[in-house]
Structure formats: C-alpha cells, structure tokens
C-alpha cells in the first residue's frame, strides 16, 4: 500500500474509473453494432424491393432484368452490393454484374413468403450481410413459378464505422479519466492543505519558533489541534515544574549542606546535629520529588482508579507490617468510589493515612470511601480514616494545616504522613479536615473533586 493518503485515493479512484469506463465501453459498443446491423438490414430490404420492381416476366416463363438498373452499384464490379435470382430448381436466373461470377446463395430455394437474413456470409472472401426472399411470380398467362431473390452488401464499410466509433469512444473516455484524476489530485491538495499546515506548525513548535498550533483549522481538525495544544501546554508546564523543583531542591539542600560544612570546619562536628540535617535533606528530597512527579493538575486523562481495590492492597500490606498489633480494620467502601488520577498518588494518599491510623490505633481502624456529588459531570471522592488512638495533638494539627507548611518542617507523630497527604490533596484541588472520631482517636477526612 502506498503510504500517502492522496496516492491511495488516486490509485483506488483510477481502478474504480477504469472498471466503470470499461463496462460502459463494452455496452456502448454493443448498442452501436446492433443499431448498425438493423440499419443495414433495412437498406438490404429496399434493394430487394427495387430488384423485385425491376424484374419482368417473359413469354418463356422466365424472368428478365433490364440492363440498366435503378441502383448503379449492381452494375459496377466490386461495388460491394450484389444481387441474384434463382428459380425453384436452384438455377441462377440472373446475377448482377457487380458479383463478377460469385455465387450469392446456394442450397435449397426458400419457399414463397419465407425470408432469411444472414448477418455474416463470405462472398469471395469478402464479409457480407445477405437477405433472401422466396416469391411466387404470376406470369401474363396466369401460370405461377417460384423464384428466390438474393441481395448482399459488403460489411467493410460497417466494420470501418465500428472501428472509428470504438477509437473515438476510447479517446474520449481516456481524456475524461485524465481530467477527473487531475482535478481530484488538485482537490486533494486543497483538502489536505490543513494537514500539511499542522505538520509545518508542529515542526515550528519543535524548532521553538512557535509557541503552539494556530487557529482557523477546519472543524474536523480543531479537536486534534486543540488537544495537541493542550498537550504542548501540559508538557511546558511539566518542564517548568521540573525546572522549579530542581531549582528549589538545589537551593534548599544547600542550607543543610552549609550547616554541616561549617560544623566540620569548626572542628567539633556534633553527630546529632548532622543527623538532623540529614533528616531534613531527606524530607526535602521526598517532598520536592513528589511535587514534580505527581500528575495532579495535568490535562491528560486518567482511567478511574477503583478506591476499594487500592484500600484492599494497602490493608494486605499493612496487616503484614503491623502483624504484632493486628488492629481491626473496618472498611466501608462504596463500589462507585473512584479516583480520577494517578494510581500511585491515590496509593500514597491512602497509604499514609492508613499507616498513621495503624500506628496510633489501640485496636481499631476505620476507613470510609464514597463517591460524592460535587455538581460536576463526574463524581468526586470523599475519604475518611479514623482510629481509636490518642488523636492528633492540636499543635501538630495546626502545624500541618498552616498555609504553606512544608513536609521538611513537620514533626514526628501524625505529622509527616499527614503533611504528605495534605500536599497531594492540595495539588488535586481538594480539602482536608482534621477531627475527632467516634472511635475516640483521630479522624481525617478528605474531599477530592473529579477532574
């Protein structure tokens, strides 16, 4: 298969046209020949009747033709028009001068009133069409005698006409086909121009000389170009985020590095202080990478992630990790609860919440997940994780919820996991509420809008 769309179209159209024209030519040729044959037959009839009219009966019950016939071609040898009269016994009574001795019809003589048309006969190697008519001649004395009149005309002229007709037909159709294909090719160029424009514009975007694809595309293509632009913008935003992350990362890692170096140079490295700085650097790396990697806020679609499956997976994992404690984990999930986003983000979200709950619970953990109507096309997600532990210290809660609080500033306890949760929830445009559970411990509730 040719790889270009226009080549494909032109090739297939030519094949269809050739088939169509071929069938038309065959049909027209057939019609033309039939009409030609009918015309020739009627001409032969006229000649036969003229011969009949010219013939005269003589006294010896024979037929006589005048020397000068109305149709001159009967008298000219090789004129292509021939005539002959035979009597009942098959004897030639008269033969036109044009036939130059060739016998027109042989065999039994036709009965009176019978006619016979021979479309193709050979007369001295000349193809002819022949017409024969059997008659009964009434002589002056009242006696009757049977005769057969034959006329024939050469097919040369007819064949030449058919040949010319066919040639003309072929030339016309060839010309038409070329005209059609040429105009089709030109049309295609015009129709496909927007595609070529997309191509050059994408090349320009790649080369950096354009920010995105322009407008004014045909309606069939606007979906493609708009999506392409969204993708380009997304890619740019992601790049920017990565760049910012790397910048922030470098910047914020330098402070603990500087602290450690100055401690080293002071000559009295305090190992505990070093450990604090390392913990700080670890938290910074984790937080910044999460911000860069999280897919929250991108325009690319995500298949809905079934929340219940993620909870099941995490329960299996945490039951293993907290095998000593084995808290009871009550799960109340609505089968419709889905998260439109990255599965890893959701796993981090629920993983951190459940991990805290398992860690601080005395014996029971409860997780509730349900789909929530938020006045959008798709439903959002409401998640609540509770435990029967000591609850979150108000100081911790305040720190976590403070605007712009960063993971690396968080303390122990519920703090660090919760700060991660808060980050993901904020990137997804959701909200987080801390409270007290009826179980007696902490209750953390999230509400995440669909994308």
């Amino acid at each position: 298969m040719p790889s270009s769309l226009s080549a494909r179209l032109l090739l297939s159209v030519s094949l269809v046209l050739a088939l169509f024209f071929g069938l038309t030519v065959v049909a027209l040729d057939r019609l033309f020949r039939e009409a030609g044959e009918r015309a020739m037959q009627s001409v032969l009839e006229v000649h036969l009747i003229a011969l009949l009219a010219a013939a005269e009966g003589d006294g010896s019950r024979g037929l006589r033709m005048p020397a000068q016939l109305p149709e001159e071609r009967f008298s000219q040898p090789g004129s292509g028009l021939y005539g002959q009269i035979r009597d009942a016994s098959g004897e030639i009574v008269w033969r036109s001068a044009s036939s130059a001795g060739a016998q027109l019809a042989e065999g039994p003589v036709l009965a009176p009133g019978d006619r016979e048309v021979v479309r193709l006969a050979m007369l001295d190697d000349i193809p002819v069409m022949a017409l024969a008519l059997g008659i009964e001649w009434e002589f002056a004395d009242g006696s009757m005698r049977r005769f057969e009149f034959d006329v024939a005309q050469s097919l040369d002229l007819y064949h030449a006409q058919v040949e010319r007709f066919r040639r003309q037909l072929f030339i016309w159709f060839l010309g038409l086909m070329l005209l059609l294909l040429t105009s089709l090719a030109l049309l295609l160029r015009w129709i496909l121009r927007p595609l070529r424009r997309i191509e050059t514009e994408i090349a320009a975007v790649e080369a950096g000389s354009r920010a995105e694809l322009g407008g004014g595309y045909p309606s069939e293509l606007t979906g493609v170009t708009e999506n392409m632009n969204a993708l380009i913008r997304d890619e740019r935003a992601r790049l920017l985020r990565y760049r910012n992350t790397l910048g922030n990362l470098a910047h914020s890692l330098k402070t603990p590095l500087a602290v450690m170096r100055s401690a080293l140079q002071a000559g009295q490295p305090d190992l505990a202080a070093f450990d604090t700085q390392i913990a700080r650097m670890d938290a910074i790396v984790g937080s910044q990478l999460r911000r860069a990697a999280t897919s929250a806020g991108t325009t690319l679609g995500h298949a809905p992630v079934a929340v219940a499956a993620v909870i099941e997976e995490l329960r299996g994992a945490l039951d293993k990790v907290y095998a000593d404690k084995q808290p009871r984990c009550l799960t109340e999930t609505d089968g419709n609860a889905v998260y439109y986003g990255d599965r890893e983000d959701l796993t981090d979200l629920i993983g951190n919440l459940l991990d805290n709950a398992y860690k601080w619970s005395r014996s029971t953990v409860r997780i509730t997940a349900q789909a929530e109507e938020m006045g959008r096309r798709r439903r959002g997600l409401r998640l609540a994780v509770e435990d029967d532990g000591p609850g979150i210290r108000p100081a911790d809660a305040q720190r976590v919820l403070a605007r712009g609080a960063r993971v690396d500033e968080q303390a122990e306890g519920h703090g660090i996991g919760l700060a991660v949760v808060k980050e993901i929830v904020e990137l997804a445009g959701g909200s987080l509420t801390l409270g007290v559970s009826p179980l007696g411990g902490a209750r953390i509730e999230l509400s995440i809008p669909p994308r």
């Binding site: 670890d282 293993k320 095998a323 599965r343 890893e344 796993t347 981090d348």
Partner: protein, 229 residues
C-alpha cells in the same frame, strides 16, 4: 541469628555488615541478586535484608524467587523509593517489612529483631520465661526485674535459645546461626558462651535456665509466660 544482607552499594553494605555483627548477628553479605539467591538457598539464613535496587535483578524478583524456592525466613526490604506503590509491591512479593533509605541503624535492628521474634512465634516484643525477660526491642535482659549486662554475642545466644524455649537446639545449629561462613568453627566457643550465660543469669545456680543434653545440644528449660501467637 544468621542474617543475609543483599546490598549493592559497597559502603552501605560494609557499614551495615559491621553494625549488624556488632549487634551480635552472623552476616552473609551479597553484592548482587544472584549471589544473594545463592546464599539464601545454600545457608541456614534466619532473615534476609534485601535492597530493592540491585544491579542484576530487581530485589522484588529476588524475594519472589526465594519464596518460590521454599525459603520462608522473614525478609526486610531496604528501599530508596518511598512511594507506597513500591512498598505494597515488595510486601506482596513476599517481603515482611520495609525500611526507607536513609535510615538509622537502630530502626533496622528494631525491625530485624521484631521479625525474628515474630517468626519464632512470639507476639510481644518482650520474651518472658519465668523470671527471665528478654526485651527484643531494647536488646536488654532482666532477671527478676534486675538488668543483666550481656555482650552482643551472649545476647544472641540467649535470644536464639529463648526464641525456641522448650525445644532442643543443637550445637551445630547454634554455630550455624551465630557464625557466618568466614568464621572458623570451634564448638568449644559455644560451650564457653553457654557457661558465661549461666553464670550471669543464674549466679547462685537456682533457676538452671539452660539444660545441656549430651550429644544433642541445649534447651532453654523455663516455660514461656508471654502469650504465643
């Protein structure tokens, strides 16, 4: 207790090995997955510490291969990736717990001790047999509420016996569990340690916690008083 450590980062492997040995463990250290698999299937390993980012095979593959080969010892995973999806994948592949890098050695030791204790069927961090209490999280031993000072190696011998209180542990098994493959084996050393333990735990010969069964080995004779899972 004999540990298998699979970690490709040389510095980390060496410092971890040193710290684990200091805590009284016998350590077989492997620098890649296939070596780790060989040690794990050929040596009497009590617990494996596996780094997830190995050069020749993913740590998760190593864990599933060990499990497929019928090795049931606990596996502690070390990972630099702190996303929950990775932790879940490791635990599903057969790991029992994880520690995220960078970690404190205390954290690793606490997890290792908890896993070993749990594998021996003890649900609580403190193993209690009569008046003797062995706290696996603090690695401290008390007799009738009075703390007894033990060396790391003495602690390991006692832990080994107490974890399997009531069962006979042969000398060969103790040697296997307490020494790695580089150590020159000498069963007299075990006898020496048992002797020292007896003197420290039971200076007046009243409890007789450790029995010697001639030709068979040793048995921790005091009954478990903490719940068994």
């Amino acid at each position: 207790m004999r540990l298998l450590l699979v970690e490709d980062e040389t510095l980390l492997r060496e410092s971890l090995t040193a710290q684990l040995k200091k805590a009284g463990f016998a350590v077989d250290a492997a620098g890649n997955g296939s070596e780790g698999f060989y040690f794990g299937t050929e040596y009497p390993v009590d617990l494996a510490i596996v780094d997830l980012g190995l050069p020749d095979m993913p740590g998760i593959t190593l864990i599933s291969r060990l499990r497929d080969a019928g090795r049931e010892f606990p596996v502690l995973v070390l990972t630099a990736r702190d996303r929950w999806q990775d932790k879940v994948a490791a635990l599903q592949a057969g790991a029992d717990d994880y520690v995220v890098k960078p970690f404190h050695i205390e954290e690793v030791l606490a997890r290792v001790n908890a896993l070993l204790r749990r594998a021996a069927g003890w649900a609580q961090a403190v193993l209690r047999c009569g008046p003797i209490e062995l706290d696996t999280s603090r690695q401290a031993v008390e007799v009738a509420g009075v703390e007894v000072e033990l060396t790391g190696f003495e602690y390991r011998v006692l832990e080994c016996l107490m974890l399997r209180a009531g069962e006979v542990v042969s000398k060969a098994e103790l040697t296997d569990r307490l020494y790695d493959q580089d150590f020159e084996r000498d069963s007299n050393v075990i006898e020496v340690f048992i002797g020292r333990l007896r003197r420290k735990l039971d200076p007046h010969d009243e409890l007789q916690p450790i029995e010697t069964l001639r030709g068979r080995g040793y048995r921790f004779a005091l009954d478990r008083t903490a719940d068994r899972t």
